[in-house]
């Protein structure tokens, strides 16, 4: 047979530009940075942030186009060009910028400084963005791997502390396990739906009437995919890695995991469950419900008895994952329908705000940690208010926001999720979530107690707050309060967020 001439797919470079931007930035940092001696004055961070900002602007422009032209797919249906993707991209970029600021404050001048970390952060961000906008499970898997591999390395990157390396190894082994499962899920789903492309899967299930539930492969696929994603979002019982890793990894990296990592994972989950598998919502929604409740309960309960702040926050992030799952569950009720309810939106808002919150929180943690040789026990925070009132105030804002106190972004996020759940009539999970939130509030109070109400122990030197970290905290506070007080813009924006499906 003769070889017919080859036609590559048409490529909308502009729509791809945000991803290209970040990857390009990473390459730039690697190539130039590796060949030149150590750059002064946090130029790495500067470049990274600049790149991120440009990418953000680009994705905003793309958003405009979508608003006019409607959602499409890119590069032969590999990526979805929809507002959902753009919003997730923006979320990731904002969180990345904050983390980079913190990272600079942490690394500048230390022997850990160098282009590599920033390059990895950028590539990881790219992976996250891809996960959020993937329209093909294989692509999603690749994005996931990009993100995960970078995180494995970053988690282990602090060679001064054994904990860092231990956490890196644990994360790596379990992560590998999880991605294998995820991959197996893809394979099974491929067996059931004869494609790995989300749009095609959706169409397939819309057109084929499954007779007598003989779609066993699909079910197994969904199950395994769900496990893989649940692992990434650290939902109970797949959360086991997160406390150890959060605690062991350098604080700024923990911030990245908690913000970008979670955002990407949830975006992927929404893509898979809500976009690709709306016709199996009755199959997966109960599982999500159970996961949500488990995460809420276990996360809050275990957070209460911790003594290490980073570990507390790790568990609290588990319970936050529970909250997000409540949103996913809500989104599941009317997935695929025209009036899909506010579940998806609530999750997105939550991701954005939680990303900022947690980044800010860990920014403060880094400062305290480096003042106590990496010790992040509660007593390390004792009397922080006396030493650094402003910093303490910032931390308090973040903690209150995480506790869901009004006029903060955290409250809005929780409100949105619960609203979605109640709108779908799942009151039980809503109430469980709120009660869990109260239990979790106890641990934020514990931190505040040691920050404000305990005297600063003798001979503790006042923390040095790097300018960049301070900036990060300030920005995070502004966003948290700002959105908390004037949330309308964010809500109206997210209301218009839609996914490319069907």
């Amino acid at each position: 047979m003769l070889a017919q001439e080859f036609l590559g797919p048409s490529i909308d470079w502009f729509a791809l530009s945000p991803y290209l931007m970040t990857v390009g930035g990473a390459l730039l940092l690697m190539v130039v940075g590796a060949l030149t001696p150590l750059w002064p004055r946090g130029l790495y961070a500067g470049v990274t942030i600049a790149v991120s900002i440009v990418a953000g602007v680009l994705s905003l422009l793309v958003w405009d186009d979508i608003a006019d032209g409607g959602a499409t797919t890119l590069v032969a249906g590999a990526l979805a060009r929809d507002t959902f993707a753009q919003f997730l991209t923006l979320t990731v970029l904002v969180a990345t910028i904050l983390v980079v600021l913190v990272t600079d404050g942490e690394l500048r001048g230390s022997d850990g400084d160098g282009p590599e970390v920033y390059a990895l952060l950028l590539t990881a961000a790219t992976g996250a963005m891809i996960m959020g906008s993937a329209n093909d499970l294989i692509v999603m898997f690749l994005g996931l791997e990009t993100l995960s591999l970078a995180l494995y390395v970053l988690a282990a990157s602090d060679r001064r502390r054994n904990a860092s390396q231990e956490s890196g190894l644990k994360y790596f082994i379990l992560g590998g396990f999880a991605s294998a499962v995820f991959l197996y899920g893809i394979a099974m789903l491929y067996g059931g739906a004869r494609s790995t492309n989300i749009s095609e899967i959706t169409t397939f299930f819309r057109d084929t009437v499954t007779v007598g539930r003989n779609d066993a492969l699909v079910l197994v696929g969904i199950a395994l995919l769900l496990v893989g994603l649940a692992f990434k979002v650290a939902a109970v019982p797949f959360h086991m890695w997160s406390p150890d890793v959060y605690q062991g990894a350098p604080s700024n990296i923990t911030a990245f995991m908690a913000s970008v990592g979670k955002a990407a994972a949830f975006a992927a989950m929404l893509r898979v469950l809500v976009v690709a598998l709306p016709f199996h919502r009755d199959d997966w929604r109960p599982v999500v419900w159970v996961l949500a409740v488990a995460s809420l309960v276990v996360g809050s309960l275990l957070a209460v008895v911790q003594t290490d702040v980073k570990r507390m926050l790790a568990y609290s992030s588990v319970s936050h994952a529970g909250f997000l799952l409540v949103g996913v569950e809500a989104a599941g009720h009317r997935a695929g329908e025209l009036d899909a309810g506010s579940g998806l939106q609530s999750v997105l808002v939550y991701l954005m705000l939680y990303g900022v919150l947690v980044a800010g929180t860990f920014a403060v943690v880094t400062v305290v940690a480096r003042n106590h040789e990496g010790d992040t026990g509660l007593d390390a925070f004792a009397g922080l208010a006396q030493r650094r009132p402003a910093l303490a105030l910032g931390l308090t804002v973040f903690l209150l926001a995480q506790a869901g106190v009004p006029l903060t972004g955290g409250f809005l996020a929780k409100w949105g999720v619960i609203q979605a759940a109640v709108d779908e009539g799942s009151y039980a999970v809503a109430i469980i979530a709120m009660v869990a939130a109260v239990v979790a509030a106890f641990l934020y109070l514990r931190i505040m107690v040691s920050v404000w109400l305990q005297p600063s122990p003798e001979g503790v030197v006042t923390e040095r707050v790097p300018a960049m970290t301070g900036l990060a905290v300030t920005v995070a506070v502004v966003i948290t309060i700002g959105v908390g007080v004037w949330p309308d813009w964010l809500l109206s924006v997210t209301e218009s967020v839609s996914t490319y499906a069907r």
Partner: protein, 642 residues
């Protein structure tokens, strides 16, 4: 003049305000004079009002002065209004009159007390409250005064509050009174629900027209009686009165003899139509309570050694008499006895005060005797009071007591018998007191050394300002009976039943009619019998304490007031307190314990669950694997196969 009724309470209030502001600057004795002047002014106004009312004919002898709307909420409209009618003015007259005298007495009695001006502050406030009580046009205004006098008596009883006993007595008085107030409040509620108003006019009118269910009327009447029992120290709530003697003697005279304690009787009289509309057992309950109290208190008085305690118990007993009258429908008699009793009991209290004053605050009668030589005026006046209370004609007490007994017999002979016995006892223990204090040999010299503090010890007559009130009251005790003379042959027609005519518009609905009953016909004989009883009592006492012919019977049981007080307080201190402690324990351990228990439980569970997080990757992988299996089970088996 009638429209100036508001001046009657206003003046003491003014006095109160003045002393409150300038009290310290006024100091002694000016503060006392200001207070006395205020009360005197009130008295004068009252007299004026009294004359006006006298002038008007009987059907218009009731005048309401509304000051302002007090508690107006939709259907509930309560005014701050005063009512001037025969009853209230009668009360006001002796409240202000006797009040004034007692003020004068107090100026002398309280001489040298560091808190002189404060004493008159309270005294004026009390008079104000008492006047509000009697002049109130509706139950709520009365209640204002009702609680006001309670509060004032609390202040005054615990006036020397550094004395633990005084403080306790004050508290006891207030709390016990509150128990009664509970009844009054509920009575008001019931009345409001039934009639839509708490004004006497509306309530009594409804009662008279019978537009109020008899059950409701009974409820109101009995609840009010509960209040009366509290205020007027009847069984079972009389306990506070004897203890109240901890207060300065003028207080005892003013509050615990003349005015406040009679408030209960006043209230019942005021609401007599309601009582009339009530079921038959209501008045009987009242009568019996009164009778039993009278007898009970009299027996206790027999064995008291504290000069004031004797008077206190006799007060309780006499109040019992009044309720006996009320219960027998003898409202006029009740008021009559209230007035005469106010005269002679105030007199005797002041007398005892004078004695105590002269004896340098010695109150134990066993350390007195033969004081008639040391303080003749006091002795003389006191003896007049004694004859009055003992029921010896022609003194005031005889007439009122006789009238009550008459009505009682008309209603039930048993009660009459009790009344007579009480009369005998009264004569007996009063005589005993007089003898112990003023006659016999002087027993105080033997105790002189105890008083060595202020040089050699000799009782001395009190200053003029203290004696004047004694004299006036003595006079009243003699002629007081004239306001309500019975229809005996010796009495001129024109003088008869003055009080009854005067009060008629108020008490008409409830007043019992005893004409053409056997008792009425035999009233002269009854009078003679009463006199005989009185003389018998006196004679017995003389035999025992004067001549020493007979042994004194003063069993400890009576001295301890039948141990009733002890029983109550041991219950309060024992089971009662334990119950309260139990509640407190319950709150701390159970209710709050549950809360903390939850917290502990959460921590406990968390600690357990925490164990899963071993830190070993292989375990983690195991858990993840388990999760996978579970989810697969759901999808493959529950959703797939089934």
């Amino acid at each position: 003049m009638l429209d100036l009724v508001w001046l009657i309470p206003a003046l003491p209030l003014l006095g109160f305000a003045l002393i409150l502001v300038f009290g310290r600057r006024l100091g002694e004795p000016r503060a006392g004079f200001v207070a006395a002047a205020a009360v005197l002014g009130a008295f004068v106004v009252t007299v004026g009002v009294f004359l006006d009312l006298l002038a008007t004919d009987e059907h218009h002898r009731s005048h309401v002065v509304t000051l302002f709307s007090w508690v107006p909420v939709s259907s509930l409209q309560i005014d701050m209004a005063l009512l001037a009618d025969p009853l209230s003015i009668t009360m006001a007259l002796f409240v202000t009159g006797i009040g004034f005298l007692i003020h004068l007495f107090a100026i002398g009695y309280m001489h040298g007390d560091p808190k002189f001006s404060k004493f008159f502050l309270y005294l004026n406030l009390f008079v104000f409250s008492m006047l509000m009580l009697v002049l109130g046009e509706n139950l709520l205004v009365t209640f204002l005064g009702w609680e006001g006098v309670g509060a004032c008596s609390y202040f005054l009883i615990s006036f020397w509050h550094t004395r633990e006993s005084a403080a306790t007595a004050g508290k006891k008085a207030f709390v016990t009174n509150r128990i009664g107030d509970w009844g009054v409040m509920l009575a008001m509620f019931l009345g409001f629900q039934a009639v839509g108003s708490v004004s006497y006019g509306a309530l009594n009118a409804a009662a008279e027209q019978g537009s109020i269910a008899s059950s409701t009327a009974t409820g109101i009447a009995l609840l009010l009686f509960v209040g009366a029992v509290g205020k007027s120290a009847q069984l079972p709530l009389y306990l506070w009165l004897p203890d109240a003697m901890e207060g300065p003697t003028p207080v005892s005279a003013l509050i615990h003899a003349a005015t406040m304690v009679t408030a209960g009787v006043f209230l019942m009289t005021r609401m007599n139509p309601m009582l009339a509309a009530a079921a038959d057992y209501a008045p009987q309950i009242i009568a019996w309570t009164g009778a039993i109290t009278a007898l009970f208190a009299a027996t206790i008085a027999v064995a008291q050694n504290d000069i004031k305690k004797v008077l206190a118990y006799s007060t309780v007993s006499q109040l019992g008499y009044m309720f006996l009258a009320v219960g027998s429908g003898a409202y006029v008699a009740a008021v009559f006895h209230m007035v005469t009793h106010a005269f002679f009991k105030a007199l005797m209290f002041l007398g005892s005060g004078s004695v105590i004053h002269g004896m340098h605050h010695e109150q134990d009668m066993r350390r007195m005797g033969a004081l008639r030589l040391a303080m003749p005026v006091t002795a003389g006046t006191f003896i007049i009071g004694w004859l009055a209370i003992a029921g010896v004609p022609p003194f005031a007490g005889f007439w009122s007591k006789d009238e009550i007994l008459l009505f009682t017999l008309a209603s039930s002979p048993v009660l009459y018998a009790i009344g007579l016995v009480t009369a005998i006892l009264t004569a007996y223990y009063m005589t005993r007191q007089v003898i112990m204090v003023f006659f016999g040999e002087a027993r105080w010299e033997s105790h002189a050394e105890e008083h060595g503090a202020h040089g050699e010890f000799t009782p001395h007559e009190s200053p003029k300002i203290m004696l004047l009130p004694l004299v006036v009251l003595a006079a009243l005790s003699i002629v007081g009976g004239a306001i309500q003379l019975p229809s005996f042959g010796i009495v001129p027609k024109a003088w008869r039943y003055k009080l009854e005519e005067w009060l008629h518009p108020v008490v008409a609905p409830g007043e019992a009619v005893i004409k053409d009953t056997a008792a009425y016909d035999a009233k002269s004989w009854l009078a003679l019998l009463a006199i005989a009883c009185a003389l018998a009592g006196i004679a017995a006492a003389v035999m025992v304490y004067g001549r020493r012919r007979l042994p004194a019977v003063e069993p400890q049981l009576l001295a301890d007031g039948w141990r009733y007080d002890a029983a109550v307080s041991s219950f309060m201190g024992g089971p009662g307190r334990r119950m309260f402690d139990a509640v407190a324990w319950f709150d701390a351990r159970v209710v709050d314990g549950a809360v903390n228990g939850v917290a502990t439980a959460v921590r406990g569970v968390s600690g357990r669950v925490r164990g899963i997080q071993t830190g070993n990757v292989r375990n983690y992988a195991g858990v993840v694997g388990a999760g996978i299996v579970l989810i697969l089970v759901w999808f493959v088996i529950l959703r797939g196969v089934l």
